[in-house]
Amino acid sequence: MLKAIRDRIRAKFEDYTTTTIEIVASATIGLIVGAIILYMFGYDVIRCYSIVFTKGVRDINYLLTKASPIMMTGLAFTIPMIAGVFNIGGEGQLYVGALTSILVAYYTHNILLAATTGALAGAGIGALIALLKVYRGVNEVITAIMLNWTLYYIVLYLITNIYYDPTIPHQSIPVPEDARIGYIASPWGSIRATFFIGVVLALIAYYVLYYTKLGYLLRVSGLSPRSAKYAGFDPNKAIIYSMILGGAFAGIGGALLTLGYVPYIDTTMSIVFGQGFTGIGVALLGRNNPIGIIFSSIFFSVLIIGGQMMELLTGAPPELADVLTGVIVISLALPYAYRMMISYVRTRRMIQ
Protein backbone atom coordinates (compact mmCIF):
# COMPACT_ATOMS: atom_id res chain seq x y z
CA MET A 1 0.00 0.00 0.00
CA LEU A 2 2.65 2.49 1.10
CA LYS A 3 4.86 1.36 -1.72
CA ALA A 4 2.08 1.92 -4.22
CA ILE A 5 1.56 5.48 -3.00
CA ARG A 6 5.29 6.10 -3.07
CA ASP A 7 5.49 4.83 -6.63
CA ARG A 8 2.63 7.03 -7.67
CA ILE A 9 4.23 10.08 -6.14
CA ARG A 10 7.49 9.21 -7.83
CA ALA A 11 5.74 8.79 -11.21
CA LYS A 12 3.97 12.14 -10.79
CA PHE A 13 7.24 13.77 -9.80
CA GLU A 14 8.98 12.34 -12.85
CA ASP A 15 6.15 13.66 -15.01
CA TYR A 16 6.59 17.15 -13.63
CA THR A 17 10.37 16.98 -14.02
CA THR A 18 10.07 15.95 -17.67
CA THR A 19 7.54 18.71 -18.33
CA THR A 20 9.75 21.31 -16.64
CA ILE A 21 12.77 20.18 -18.62
CA GLU A 22 10.76 20.37 -21.86
CA ILE A 23 9.53 23.88 -21.13
CA VAL A 24 12.90 25.25 -19.98
CA ALA A 25 14.80 23.57 -22.81
CA SER A 26 12.36 24.86 -25.45
CA ALA A 27 12.46 28.42 -24.15
CA THR A 28 16.25 28.26 -24.02
CA ILE A 29 16.56 26.90 -27.56
CA GLY A 30 14.18 29.66 -28.69
CA LEU A 31 16.27 32.38 -27.07
CA ILE A 32 19.53 30.95 -28.43
CA VAL A 33 18.23 30.76 -32.01
CA GLY A 34 16.79 34.26 -31.59
CA ALA A 35 20.20 35.49 -30.44
CA ILE A 36 21.93 33.91 -33.44
CA ILE A 37 19.46 35.57 -35.82
CA LEU A 38 19.77 38.97 -34.14
CA TYR A 39 23.56 38.64 -34.38
CA MET A 40 23.37 37.62 -38.06
CA PHE A 41 21.31 40.70 -38.85
CA GLY A 42 23.87 42.84 -37.03
CA TYR A 43 22.02 43.85 -33.86
CA ASP A 44 23.50 44.07 -30.38
CA VAL A 45 22.17 40.81 -28.91
CA ILE A 46 22.80 41.56 -25.24
CA ARG A 47 21.27 45.00 -25.43
CA CYS A 48 18.22 43.66 -27.33
CA TYR A 49 17.57 40.87 -24.84
CA SER A 50 18.14 43.03 -21.80
CA ILE A 51 15.60 45.51 -23.18
CA VAL A 52 13.10 42.70 -23.85
CA PHE A 53 13.32 41.30 -20.34
CA THR A 54 13.57 44.57 -18.37
CA LYS A 55 11.29 46.91 -20.33
CA GLY A 56 8.95 44.02 -21.06
CA VAL A 57 8.01 43.62 -17.40
CA ARG A 58 8.17 47.26 -16.31
CA ASP A 59 4.48 48.13 -16.51
CA ILE A 60 2.59 45.35 -14.72
CA ASN A 61 -0.82 46.62 -15.82
CA TYR A 62 0.20 46.71 -19.48
CA LEU A 63 1.87 43.32 -19.19
CA LEU A 64 -1.19 41.60 -17.72
CA THR A 65 -3.68 43.40 -19.97
CA LYS A 66 -1.72 42.24 -23.01
CA ALA A 67 -1.54 38.71 -21.61
CA SER A 68 -5.32 38.32 -21.28
CA PRO A 69 -6.42 37.91 -24.93
CA ILE A 70 -3.59 35.48 -25.71
CA MET A 71 -4.47 33.53 -22.58
CA MET A 72 -7.95 33.13 -24.09
CA THR A 73 -6.70 32.17 -27.56
CA GLY A 74 -4.35 29.76 -25.79
CA LEU A 75 -7.37 28.07 -24.24
CA ALA A 76 -9.05 28.19 -27.64
CA PHE A 77 -6.23 25.99 -28.96
CA THR A 78 -5.88 23.78 -25.89
CA ILE A 79 -9.45 22.61 -25.38
CA PRO A 80 -9.84 21.20 -28.92
CA MET A 81 -6.24 19.90 -28.74
CA ILE A 82 -7.17 17.84 -25.68
CA ALA A 83 -10.03 16.38 -27.71
CA GLY A 84 -7.63 15.68 -30.59
CA VAL A 85 -8.52 18.62 -32.88
CA PHE A 86 -6.14 21.35 -34.05
CA ASN A 87 -7.91 24.69 -33.73
CA ILE A 88 -5.67 27.12 -35.56
CA GLY A 89 -8.72 29.25 -36.26
CA GLY A 90 -8.38 31.19 -33.01
CA GLU A 91 -7.30 34.13 -35.12
CA GLY A 92 -10.57 34.42 -37.06
CA GLN A 93 -12.66 33.53 -34.03
CA LEU A 94 -11.03 36.39 -32.15
CA TYR A 95 -11.69 38.88 -34.99
CA VAL A 96 -15.37 37.99 -34.94
CA GLY A 97 -15.56 38.11 -31.16
CA ALA A 98 -13.86 41.51 -31.09
CA LEU A 99 -16.14 43.08 -33.70
CA THR A 100 -19.32 41.58 -32.24
CA SER A 101 -18.45 42.86 -28.76
CA ILE A 102 -17.78 46.34 -30.11
CA LEU A 103 -21.11 46.45 -31.93
CA VAL A 104 -23.17 45.09 -29.04
CA ALA A 105 -21.42 47.39 -26.57
CA TYR A 106 -21.95 50.37 -28.88
CA TYR A 107 -25.66 49.79 -29.27
CA THR A 108 -26.63 48.41 -25.84
CA HIS A 109 -23.95 49.80 -23.48
CA ASN A 110 -24.17 46.45 -21.72
CA ILE A 111 -20.74 44.99 -21.03
CA LEU A 112 -21.92 41.52 -20.06
CA LEU A 113 -24.14 41.19 -23.11
CA ALA A 114 -21.25 42.38 -25.30
CA ALA A 115 -18.85 39.79 -23.92
CA THR A 116 -21.42 37.00 -24.18
CA THR A 117 -22.30 37.73 -27.79
CA GLY A 118 -18.58 37.95 -28.56
CA ALA A 119 -18.15 34.48 -27.12
CA LEU A 120 -21.15 33.17 -29.05
CA ALA A 121 -19.82 34.58 -32.30
CA GLY A 122 -16.47 32.86 -31.76
CA ALA A 123 -18.27 29.65 -30.81
CA GLY A 124 -20.25 29.81 -34.05
CA ILE A 125 -17.06 29.90 -36.11
CA GLY A 126 -15.62 27.06 -34.03
CA ALA A 127 -18.78 25.03 -34.62
CA LEU A 128 -18.58 25.62 -38.37
CA ILE A 129 -15.03 24.23 -38.47
CA ALA A 130 -16.09 21.20 -36.42
CA LEU A 131 -19.21 20.51 -38.50
CA LEU A 132 -17.24 20.63 -41.76
CA LYS A 133 -14.76 18.18 -40.27
CA VAL A 134 -17.35 15.76 -38.92
CA TYR A 135 -19.88 15.84 -41.74
CA ARG A 136 -17.80 16.76 -44.80
CA GLY A 137 -14.44 15.31 -43.85
CA VAL A 138 -12.62 18.62 -44.37
CA ASN A 139 -9.42 18.86 -42.35
CA GLU A 140 -9.85 21.44 -39.59
CA VAL A 141 -6.52 23.09 -40.34
CA ILE A 142 -7.59 23.94 -43.90
CA THR A 143 -11.03 25.24 -42.90
CA ALA A 144 -9.56 27.29 -40.08
CA ILE A 145 -6.98 29.05 -42.25
CA MET A 146 -9.46 29.74 -45.06
CA LEU A 147 -11.88 31.18 -42.49
CA ASN A 148 -9.12 33.26 -40.86
CA TRP A 149 -8.42 35.00 -44.17
CA THR A 150 -12.09 35.32 -45.10
CA LEU A 151 -13.02 36.80 -41.72
CA TYR A 152 -10.03 39.12 -41.87
CA TYR A 153 -11.40 40.70 -45.06
CA ILE A 154 -15.03 40.62 -43.94
CA VAL A 155 -14.19 42.42 -40.68
CA LEU A 156 -12.12 44.93 -42.66
CA TYR A 157 -15.05 45.49 -45.00
CA LEU A 158 -17.45 46.03 -42.11
CA ILE A 159 -15.21 48.50 -40.24
CA THR A 160 -14.37 50.52 -43.36
CA ASN A 161 -17.81 50.62 -44.95
CA ILE A 162 -20.53 50.19 -42.36
CA TYR A 163 -19.32 50.47 -38.77
CA TYR A 164 -16.65 53.13 -39.22
CA ASP A 165 -16.16 56.03 -36.84
CA PRO A 166 -17.29 59.18 -38.68
CA THR A 167 -15.15 61.42 -36.45
CA ILE A 168 -11.86 59.47 -36.52
CA PRO A 169 -10.73 58.08 -39.88
CA HIS A 170 -9.44 54.50 -40.17
CA GLN A 171 -11.21 53.26 -37.06
CA SER A 172 -14.32 51.30 -36.25
CA ILE A 173 -16.97 52.73 -33.97
CA PRO A 174 -15.66 52.59 -30.39
CA VAL A 175 -16.80 50.74 -27.31
CA PRO A 176 -18.56 53.48 -25.26
CA GLU A 177 -16.89 54.61 -22.04
CA ASP A 178 -19.55 53.06 -19.83
CA ALA A 179 -19.09 49.61 -21.35
CA ARG A 180 -15.37 49.22 -20.75
CA ILE A 181 -13.72 46.92 -18.26
CA GLY A 182 -12.52 48.88 -15.21
CA TYR A 183 -9.48 48.77 -12.94
CA ILE A 184 -8.81 46.96 -9.70
CA ALA A 185 -6.46 48.41 -7.07
CA SER A 186 -3.44 46.24 -6.27
CA PRO A 187 -0.03 46.61 -4.58
CA TRP A 188 1.48 47.17 -8.05
CA GLY A 189 -0.85 50.02 -8.92
CA SER A 190 -4.27 49.76 -10.49
CA ILE A 191 -4.63 46.83 -12.87
CA ARG A 192 -7.38 46.28 -15.41
CA ALA A 193 -9.83 43.62 -14.36
CA THR A 194 -9.31 41.97 -17.77
CA PHE A 195 -6.51 39.79 -16.49
CA PHE A 196 -8.45 38.58 -13.45
CA ILE A 197 -11.44 37.75 -15.62
CA GLY A 198 -9.06 35.77 -17.82
CA VAL A 199 -7.64 33.87 -14.85
CA VAL A 200 -11.10 33.01 -13.55
CA LEU A 201 -12.07 31.74 -17.01
CA ALA A 202 -8.89 29.68 -17.23
CA LEU A 203 -9.67 28.11 -13.85
CA ILE A 204 -13.20 27.35 -15.05
CA ALA A 205 -11.71 25.71 -18.14
CA TYR A 206 -9.46 23.63 -15.89
CA TYR A 207 -12.45 22.57 -13.79
CA VAL A 208 -14.50 21.65 -16.85
CA LEU A 209 -11.68 19.65 -18.41
CA TYR A 210 -10.67 17.68 -15.33
CA TYR A 211 -13.70 17.53 -13.05
CA THR A 212 -16.77 17.21 -15.28
CA LYS A 213 -18.25 14.52 -17.48
CA LEU A 214 -17.86 16.75 -20.53
CA GLY A 215 -14.16 17.20 -19.79
CA TYR A 216 -13.78 13.44 -19.39
CA LEU A 217 -15.48 12.89 -22.77
CA LEU A 218 -13.10 15.35 -24.42
CA ARG A 219 -9.99 13.85 -22.83
CA VAL A 220 -10.88 10.25 -23.61
CA SER A 221 -11.76 11.07 -27.21
CA GLY A 222 -8.49 12.93 -27.59
CA LEU A 223 -6.37 10.15 -26.16
CA SER A 224 -8.08 7.37 -28.07
CA PRO A 225 -11.17 7.89 -30.20
CA ARG A 226 -11.58 4.12 -30.42
CA SER A 227 -11.77 3.55 -26.66
CA ALA A 228 -14.17 6.48 -26.45
CA LYS A 229 -16.42 4.66 -28.89
CA TYR A 230 -16.23 1.42 -26.87
CA ALA A 231 -17.08 3.39 -23.73
CA GLY A 232 -20.20 4.65 -25.44
CA PHE A 233 -18.96 8.15 -26.19
CA ASP A 234 -19.30 9.65 -29.61
CA PRO A 235 -15.88 11.10 -30.57
CA ASN A 236 -17.58 13.31 -33.15
CA LYS A 237 -19.51 14.97 -30.35
CA ALA A 238 -16.23 15.61 -28.58
CA ILE A 239 -14.90 17.31 -31.71
CA ILE A 240 -17.96 19.55 -31.97
CA TYR A 241 -18.19 20.42 -28.26
CA SER A 242 -14.48 21.13 -27.96
CA MET A 243 -14.51 23.41 -31.00
CA ILE A 244 -17.55 25.29 -29.70
CA LEU A 245 -15.81 25.78 -26.36
CA GLY A 246 -12.53 26.71 -28.06
CA GLY A 247 -14.25 29.18 -30.38
CA ALA A 248 -16.08 30.71 -27.42
CA PHE A 249 -12.79 31.30 -25.62
CA ALA A 250 -11.25 32.94 -28.67
CA GLY A 251 -14.39 35.08 -28.97
CA ILE A 252 -14.03 36.14 -25.34
CA GLY A 253 -10.40 36.92 -26.13
CA GLY A 254 -11.67 39.38 -28.73
CA ALA A 255 -14.12 40.79 -26.19
CA LEU A 256 -11.40 41.26 -23.55
CA LEU A 257 -9.25 42.95 -26.17
CA THR A 258 -11.84 45.53 -27.22
CA LEU A 259 -13.76 45.97 -23.95
CA GLY A 260 -10.64 45.99 -21.82
CA TYR A 261 -7.72 47.28 -23.86
CA VAL A 262 -8.18 49.09 -27.18
CA PRO A 263 -11.86 50.03 -27.61
CA TYR A 264 -11.91 49.89 -31.42
CA ILE A 265 -10.42 48.04 -34.41
CA ASP A 266 -8.25 50.11 -36.74
CA THR A 267 -8.13 49.50 -40.47
CA THR A 268 -4.61 48.06 -40.34
CA MET A 269 -6.08 45.36 -38.05
CA SER A 270 -2.88 45.70 -35.99
CA ILE A 271 -4.80 45.39 -32.71
CA VAL A 272 -6.36 42.03 -33.45
CA PHE A 273 -3.83 40.54 -35.89
CA GLY A 274 -1.65 37.73 -34.58
CA GLN A 275 -3.45 37.27 -31.26
CA GLY A 276 -4.82 33.91 -32.33
CA PHE A 277 -1.53 32.58 -33.63
CA THR A 278 0.35 33.69 -30.53
CA GLY A 279 -2.27 31.75 -28.57
CA ILE A 280 -0.98 28.52 -30.16
CA GLY A 281 2.47 29.19 -28.74
CA VAL A 282 0.93 30.09 -25.39
CA ALA A 283 -1.05 26.84 -25.31
CA LEU A 284 1.90 24.65 -26.23
CA LEU A 285 4.33 26.29 -23.82
CA GLY A 286 1.65 25.95 -21.14
CA ARG A 287 1.70 22.23 -21.98
CA ASN A 288 -2.02 22.37 -22.83
CA ASN A 289 -2.86 22.91 -19.19
CA PRO A 290 -5.14 25.90 -18.42
CA ILE A 291 -3.10 26.78 -15.34
CA GLY A 292 0.15 26.52 -17.28
CA ILE A 293 -1.43 28.77 -19.91
CA ILE A 294 -1.95 31.56 -17.35
CA PHE A 295 1.81 31.69 -16.83
CA SER A 296 2.86 31.17 -20.41
CA SER A 297 0.52 33.97 -21.55
CA ILE A 298 2.48 36.31 -19.27
CA PHE A 299 5.76 35.03 -20.75
CA PHE A 300 4.58 35.70 -24.30
CA SER A 301 3.25 39.07 -23.21
CA VAL A 302 6.79 39.91 -22.05
CA LEU A 303 8.14 38.85 -25.46
CA ILE A 304 5.59 40.97 -27.34
CA ILE A 305 5.94 44.11 -25.22
CA GLY A 306 9.69 43.65 -24.97
CA GLY A 307 9.84 43.26 -28.75
CA GLN A 308 8.02 46.57 -29.22
CA MET A 309 10.35 48.34 -26.77
CA MET A 310 13.34 46.76 -28.50
CA GLU A 311 12.18 48.17 -31.83
CA LEU A 312 11.72 51.62 -30.29
CA LEU A 313 15.18 51.68 -28.71
CA THR A 314 17.40 49.72 -31.12
CA GLY A 315 15.43 49.52 -34.37
CA ALA A 316 15.52 45.71 -34.28
CA PRO A 317 12.26 44.42 -35.79
CA PRO A 318 9.59 43.23 -33.30
CA GLU A 319 9.01 40.15 -35.47
CA LEU A 320 11.74 38.66 -33.28
CA ALA A 321 8.75 37.64 -31.14
CA ASP A 322 7.46 35.52 -34.07
CA VAL A 323 10.85 33.88 -34.50
CA LEU A 324 11.05 33.05 -30.80
CA THR A 325 7.48 31.73 -30.81
CA GLY A 326 8.22 29.59 -33.85
CA VAL A 327 11.39 28.05 -32.48
CA ILE A 328 9.81 27.44 -29.07
CA VAL A 329 6.83 25.73 -30.71
CA ILE A 330 9.09 23.58 -32.90
CA SER A 331 11.13 22.57 -29.84
CA LEU A 332 7.93 21.69 -28.01
CA ALA A 333 7.00 19.24 -30.76
CA LEU A 334 9.73 16.95 -29.49
CA PRO A 335 8.70 15.27 -26.22
CA TYR A 336 10.20 11.99 -27.44
CA ALA A 337 13.59 13.58 -28.01
CA TYR A 338 13.64 15.05 -24.52
CA ARG A 339 12.61 11.76 -22.97
CA MET A 340 15.41 10.02 -24.88
CA MET A 341 17.85 12.62 -23.64
CA ILE A 342 16.74 12.22 -20.03
CA SER A 343 16.91 8.43 -20.12
CA TYR A 344 20.34 8.64 -21.79
CA VAL A 345 21.64 10.87 -19.00
CA ARG A 346 20.08 8.57 -16.42
CA THR A 347 21.65 5.39 -17.81
CA ARG A 348 25.00 7.14 -18.04
CA ARG A 349 24.72 8.03 -14.39
CA MET A 350 23.84 4.44 -13.48
CA ILE A 351 26.85 3.08 -15.31
CA GLN A 352 29.15 5.44 -13.51
Partner: protein, 297 residues
Protein backbone atom coordinates in the same frame (compact mmCIF):
# COMPACT_ATOMS: atom_id res chain seq x y z
CA UNK B 1 -15.62 39.35 -73.38
CA UNK B 2 -13.68 36.54 -75.05
CA UNK B 3 -10.59 38.66 -74.61
CA UNK B 4 -11.29 38.80 -70.89
CA UNK B 5 -11.84 35.07 -70.60
CA UNK B 6 -8.64 34.31 -72.47
CA UNK B 7 -6.62 36.68 -70.33
CA UNK B 8 -8.14 35.21 -67.16
CA UNK B 9 -7.21 31.72 -68.35
CA UNK B 10 -3.66 32.66 -69.27
CA UNK B 11 -3.25 34.43 -65.93
CA UNK B 12 -4.51 31.34 -64.17
CA UNK B 13 -1.59 29.44 -65.72
CA UNK B 14 0.71 31.94 -64.00
CA UNK B 15 -1.12 32.06 -60.66
CA UNK B 16 -1.48 28.30 -60.28
CA UNK B 17 2.24 27.49 -60.30
CA UNK B 18 3.15 27.98 -56.61
CA UNK B 19 0.05 26.08 -55.52
CA UNK B 20 0.80 23.26 -57.95
CA UNK B 21 4.47 22.91 -56.98
CA UNK B 22 3.68 22.96 -53.27
CA UNK B 23 0.85 20.45 -53.81
CA UNK B 24 3.01 17.98 -55.72
CA UNK B 25 5.67 18.22 -53.02
CA UNK B 26 3.13 17.71 -50.27
CA UNK B 27 1.57 14.76 -52.12
CA UNK B 28 4.99 13.10 -52.26
CA UNK B 29 5.69 13.48 -48.55
CA UNK B 30 2.13 12.71 -47.48
CA UNK B 31 2.16 9.56 -49.60
CA UNK B 32 5.20 8.49 -47.58
CA UNK B 33 3.33 9.22 -44.34
CA UNK B 34 4.68 12.65 -43.35
CA UNK B 35 2.42 15.69 -43.27
CA UNK B 36 4.10 19.07 -43.53
CA UNK B 37 1.81 22.02 -42.84
CA UNK B 38 4.83 24.32 -42.90
CA UNK B 39 4.29 24.88 -46.66
CA UNK B 40 3.17 28.46 -46.01
CA UNK B 41 6.41 29.12 -44.15
CA UNK B 42 8.53 27.49 -46.86
CA UNK B 43 6.83 29.62 -49.53
CA UNK B 44 7.49 32.78 -47.50
CA UNK B 45 11.10 32.00 -46.62
CA UNK B 46 11.99 30.83 -50.14
CA UNK B 47 10.37 33.93 -51.64
CA UNK B 48 12.35 36.10 -49.25
CA UNK B 49 15.74 34.50 -49.88
CA UNK B 50 15.12 34.43 -53.63
CA UNK B 51 14.36 38.16 -53.55
CA UNK B 52 17.48 38.94 -51.53
CA UNK B 53 19.77 37.01 -53.85
CA UNK B 54 18.16 38.41 -56.99
CA UNK B 55 18.42 41.90 -55.52
CA UNK B 56 22.15 41.54 -54.84
CA UNK B 57 23.16 39.61 -57.98
CA UNK B 58 20.52 40.77 -60.44
CA UNK B 59 20.03 37.19 -61.58
CA UNK B 60 16.58 35.68 -60.95
CA UNK B 61 17.85 32.19 -61.85
CA UNK B 62 20.14 32.29 -58.82
CA UNK B 63 17.16 33.44 -56.80
CA UNK B 64 15.20 30.43 -57.98
CA UNK B 65 18.01 28.09 -56.98
CA UNK B 66 18.48 29.57 -53.52
CA UNK B 67 14.73 29.35 -52.90
CA UNK B 68 14.84 25.71 -53.88
CA UNK B 69 17.75 25.09 -51.50
CA UNK B 70 15.95 26.88 -48.67
CA UNK B 71 13.09 24.46 -49.31
CA UNK B 72 15.54 21.56 -49.09
CA UNK B 73 16.91 22.87 -45.79
CA UNK B 74 13.40 23.27 -44.39
CA UNK B 75 12.67 19.72 -45.48
CA UNK B 76 15.75 18.42 -43.69
CA UNK B 77 14.63 20.18 -40.50
CA UNK B 78 11.08 18.87 -40.75
CA UNK B 79 12.32 15.43 -41.73
CA UNK B 80 14.72 15.09 -38.82
CA UNK B 81 12.07 16.24 -36.37
CA UNK B 82 9.13 14.27 -37.69
CA UNK B 83 10.86 11.10 -38.89
CA UNK B 84 13.85 10.52 -36.63
CA UNK B 85 12.86 12.43 -33.49
CA UNK B 86 9.19 11.36 -33.78
CA UNK B 87 7.98 14.89 -33.13
CA UNK B 88 4.43 16.05 -33.64
CA UNK B 89 4.29 16.88 -37.34
CA UNK B 90 1.44 19.38 -37.15
CA UNK B 91 2.95 21.31 -34.24
CA UNK B 92 6.34 21.37 -35.92
CA UNK B 93 4.71 22.80 -39.05
CA UNK B 94 2.82 25.46 -37.09
CA UNK B 95 6.08 26.47 -35.41
CA UNK B 96 7.94 26.58 -38.70
CA UNK B 97 5.31 28.89 -40.20
CA UNK B 98 5.75 31.39 -37.35
CA UNK B 99 9.53 31.12 -37.52
CA UNK B 100 9.72 31.58 -41.30
CA UNK B 101 7.37 34.56 -41.23
CA UNK B 102 9.31 36.15 -38.38
CA UNK B 103 12.76 35.74 -39.88
CA UNK B 104 11.64 36.87 -43.35
CA UNK B 105 10.06 40.06 -42.04
CA UNK B 106 13.06 40.70 -39.78
CA UNK B 107 15.23 40.40 -42.87
CA UNK B 108 12.95 42.68 -44.86
CA UNK B 109 13.18 45.38 -42.21
CA UNK B 110 16.92 44.96 -41.65
CA UNK B 111 18.02 44.85 -45.29
CA UNK B 112 15.68 47.39 -46.86
CA UNK B 113 14.30 49.34 -43.85
CA UNK B 114 10.84 48.60 -45.23
CA UNK B 115 7.95 47.15 -43.26
CA UNK B 116 5.66 46.16 -46.11
CA UNK B 117 7.52 45.21 -49.26
CA UNK B 118 11.01 44.97 -50.74
CA UNK B 119 12.09 47.07 -53.72
CA UNK B 120 11.29 45.43 -57.06
CA UNK B 121 13.75 42.88 -58.46
CA UNK B 122 14.24 41.36 -61.91
CA UNK B 123 12.01 38.44 -62.80
CA UNK B 124 12.41 35.45 -65.06
CA UNK B 125 11.31 36.14 -68.62
CA UNK B 126 7.81 35.02 -69.59
CA UNK B 127 7.00 33.05 -72.73
CA UNK B 128 4.66 34.99 -75.01
CA UNK B 129 1.94 33.09 -76.82
CA UNK B 130 -0.07 34.49 -79.75
CA UNK B 131 1.54 37.86 -79.30
CA UNK B 132 -0.28 38.95 -76.18
CA UNK B 133 -0.73 36.14 -73.65
CA UNK B 134 2.21 35.16 -71.56
CA UNK B 135 2.93 32.15 -69.42
CA UNK B 136 5.94 31.41 -67.28
CA UNK B 137 8.46 28.71 -68.23
CA UNK B 138 7.87 27.51 -64.68
CA UNK B 139 4.25 26.73 -65.62
CA UNK B 140 5.51 24.18 -68.12
CA UNK B 141 8.09 22.87 -65.67
CA UNK B 142 5.47 22.48 -62.93
CA UNK B 143 3.12 20.58 -65.27
CA UNK B 144 6.01 18.33 -66.27
CA UNK B 145 6.92 17.71 -62.64
CA UNK B 146 3.30 16.77 -61.94
CA UNK B 147 3.32 14.15 -64.69
CA UNK B 148 6.71 12.79 -63.65
CA UNK B 149 5.64 12.64 -60.00
CA UNK B 150 2.47 10.78 -60.98
CA UNK B 151 4.44 8.28 -63.07
CA UNK B 152 6.99 7.80 -60.34
CA UNK B 153 4.46 7.34 -57.54
CA UNK B 154 2.10 5.03 -59.37
CA UNK B 155 4.08 3.26 -62.09
CA UNK B 156 7.49 2.51 -60.61
CA UNK B 157 8.54 0.17 -57.86
CA UNK B 158 10.29 2.88 -55.86
CA UNK B 159 7.07 4.87 -55.97
CA UNK B 160 5.18 1.85 -54.72
CA UNK B 161 7.66 1.47 -51.88
CA UNK B 162 7.19 5.12 -50.97
CA UNK B 163 3.42 4.71 -50.90
CA UNK B 164 3.77 1.56 -48.80
CA UNK B 165 5.54 3.64 -46.14
CA UNK B 166 2.47 5.84 -45.92
CA UNK B 167 -0.08 3.04 -45.97
CA UNK B 168 1.47 0.37 -43.80
CA UNK B 169 5.03 1.13 -42.69
CA UNK B 170 5.43 -2.18 -40.86
CA UNK B 171 4.59 -4.15 -43.98
CA UNK B 172 6.94 -1.92 -45.96
CA UNK B 173 9.74 -2.60 -43.49
CA UNK B 174 9.07 -6.34 -43.73
CA UNK B 175 9.31 -5.99 -47.51
CA UNK B 176 12.82 -4.59 -47.04
CA UNK B 177 12.07 -0.90 -47.43
CA UNK B 178 13.94 1.46 -45.14
CA UNK B 179 10.86 3.35 -43.92
CA UNK B 180 12.67 6.05 -41.99
CA UNK B 181 15.02 6.90 -44.84
CA UNK B 182 12.25 6.84 -47.44
CA UNK B 183 10.11 9.18 -45.37
CA UNK B 184 13.05 11.46 -44.69
CA UNK B 185 13.95 11.75 -48.38
CA UNK B 186 10.30 12.21 -49.38
CA UNK B 187 9.97 15.05 -46.87
CA UNK B 188 13.06 16.75 -48.25
CA UNK B 189 11.87 16.36 -51.84
CA UNK B 190 8.43 17.68 -50.95
CA UNK B 191 9.80 20.74 -49.20
CA UNK B 192 12.23 21.37 -52.06
CA UNK B 193 9.36 21.61 -54.53
CA UNK B 194 7.55 24.00 -52.18
CA UNK B 195 10.77 26.04 -52.04
CA UNK B 196 10.80 26.26 -55.82
CA UNK B 197 7.19 27.42 -55.68
CA UNK B 198 8.05 30.11 -53.15
CA UNK B 199 11.01 31.36 -55.17
CA UNK B 200 8.80 31.50 -58.28
CA UNK B 201 6.28 33.58 -56.33
CA UNK B 202 8.90 36.30 -55.81
CA UNK B 203 11.25 36.17 -58.81
CA UNK B 204 9.11 34.39 -61.39
CA UNK B 205 5.93 36.34 -61.03
CA UNK B 206 5.43 39.16 -58.52
CA UNK B 207 8.94 40.63 -58.71
CA UNK B 208 9.32 41.68 -55.08
CA UNK B 209 8.91 40.31 -51.57
CA UNK B 210 5.95 41.42 -49.50
CA UNK B 211 5.27 40.34 -45.95
CA UNK B 212 2.06 38.51 -46.89
CA UNK B 213 3.46 37.12 -50.13
CA UNK B 214 2.33 33.55 -49.45
CA UNK B 215 -1.21 34.77 -48.65
CA UNK B 216 -2.47 31.37 -47.55
CA UNK B 217 -1.24 29.57 -50.69
CA UNK B 218 0.55 27.00 -48.56
CA UNK B 219 -2.74 26.06 -46.98
CA UNK B 220 -4.60 26.22 -50.27
CA UNK B 221 -2.03 23.69 -51.50
CA UNK B 222 -2.83 21.50 -48.50
CA UNK B 223 -6.51 21.76 -49.40
CA UNK B 224 -5.57 20.84 -52.96
CA UNK B 225 -3.72 17.72 -51.80
CA UNK B 226 -6.90 16.36 -50.22
CA UNK B 227 -9.04 17.63 -53.10
CA UNK B 228 -6.87 15.80 -55.61
CA UNK B 229 -7.01 12.62 -53.58
CA UNK B 230 -3.18 12.56 -53.27
CA UNK B 231 -2.78 12.30 -57.04
CA UNK B 232 -0.37 14.71 -58.80
CA UNK B 233 -2.35 14.68 -62.06
CA UNK B 234 -5.57 15.65 -60.33
CA UNK B 235 -3.55 18.26 -58.42
CA UNK B 236 -3.11 20.08 -61.75
CA UNK B 237 -6.88 20.44 -61.97
CA UNK B 238 -7.09 21.54 -58.35
CA UNK B 239 -4.34 24.12 -58.73
CA UNK B 240 -6.07 25.44 -61.81
CA UNK B 241 -9.35 25.86 -59.93
CA UNK B 242 -7.73 27.45 -56.86
CA UNK B 243 -5.46 29.61 -59.02
CA UNK B 244 -8.53 30.67 -60.98
CA UNK B 245 -10.21 32.01 -57.82
CA UNK B 246 -7.09 34.08 -57.20
CA UNK B 247 -7.16 35.53 -60.73
CA UNK B 248 -10.89 36.13 -60.50
CA UNK B 249 -10.38 38.09 -57.29
CA UNK B 250 -7.74 40.33 -58.87
CA UNK B 251 -9.71 40.69 -62.10
CA UNK B 252 -12.92 41.72 -60.35
CA UNK B 253 -11.07 44.22 -58.18
CA UNK B 254 -9.85 45.95 -61.34
CA UNK B 255 -13.11 45.54 -63.25
CA UNK B 256 -15.60 46.53 -60.55
CA UNK B 257 -13.74 49.68 -59.54
CA UNK B 258 -15.66 50.00 -56.28
CA UNK B 259 -13.36 50.65 -53.36
CA UNK B 260 -16.04 49.47 -50.94
CA UNK B 261 -15.98 46.01 -52.46
CA UNK B 262 -12.20 45.55 -52.49
CA UNK B 263 -12.09 43.57 -49.26
CA UNK B 264 -14.94 41.14 -49.99
CA UNK B 265 -13.40 40.50 -53.41
CA UNK B 266 -10.04 39.77 -51.79
CA UNK B 267 -11.72 37.00 -49.79
CA UNK B 268 -12.79 35.13 -52.97
CA UNK B 269 -9.82 32.71 -53.11
CA UNK B 270 -10.40 31.57 -49.53
CA UNK B 271 -14.18 31.27 -49.67
CA UNK B 272 -13.88 29.58 -53.07
CA UNK B 273 -11.34 27.07 -51.77
CA UNK B 274 -13.49 26.31 -48.75
CA UNK B 275 -16.61 25.76 -50.84
CA UNK B 276 -14.85 23.53 -53.37
CA UNK B 277 -13.19 21.50 -50.65
CA UNK B 278 -16.37 21.13 -48.60
CA UNK B 279 -18.30 20.04 -51.69
CA UNK B 280 -15.89 17.53 -53.18
CA UNK B 281 -13.64 16.23 -50.46
CA UNK B 282 -16.08 13.76 -48.85
CA UNK B 283 -14.77 10.64 -50.55
CA UNK B 284 -11.06 11.39 -50.33
CA UNK B 285 -9.03 8.60 -48.78
CA UNK B 286 -5.84 9.71 -47.13
CA UNK B 287 -2.77 7.49 -46.67
CA UNK B 288 -3.50 5.31 -43.65
CA UNK B 289 -0.35 6.01 -41.66
CA UNK B 290 -0.33 9.74 -42.45
CA UNK B 291 1.01 11.89 -39.64
CA UNK B 292 1.90 8.96 -37.40
CA UNK B 293 5.57 8.57 -36.51
CA UNK B 294 6.98 5.16 -37.42
CA UNK B 295 8.42 3.26 -34.50
CA UNK B 296 10.60 0.30 -35.38
CA UNK B 297 9.92 -2.81 -33.37
Amino acid sequence: MIEDILSILSNTLIYMVPILLASIGEIINERSGVVNIGLEGILTLAAFTATVLTFTTGNPCLGLIIGLLVGTASGILHGVISVYLRGDQIICGIGFNAFAYGISVMGLVTIWQQHGASPPVDTLPMITIAGRYSISPLTILALLIAVIAWYWLFKTSSGLKLRACGEDPHAAEAMGVNVLRTRFLATILGATLAGLGGAYLAVGWIGQFTRAIAAGRGFIALANVAFSNWNPILAILGSFIFGFFDVLSTYLQIKVQAIALTYPLKAIPYIGTLIVVATFIGRARMPKALGKPYIKE
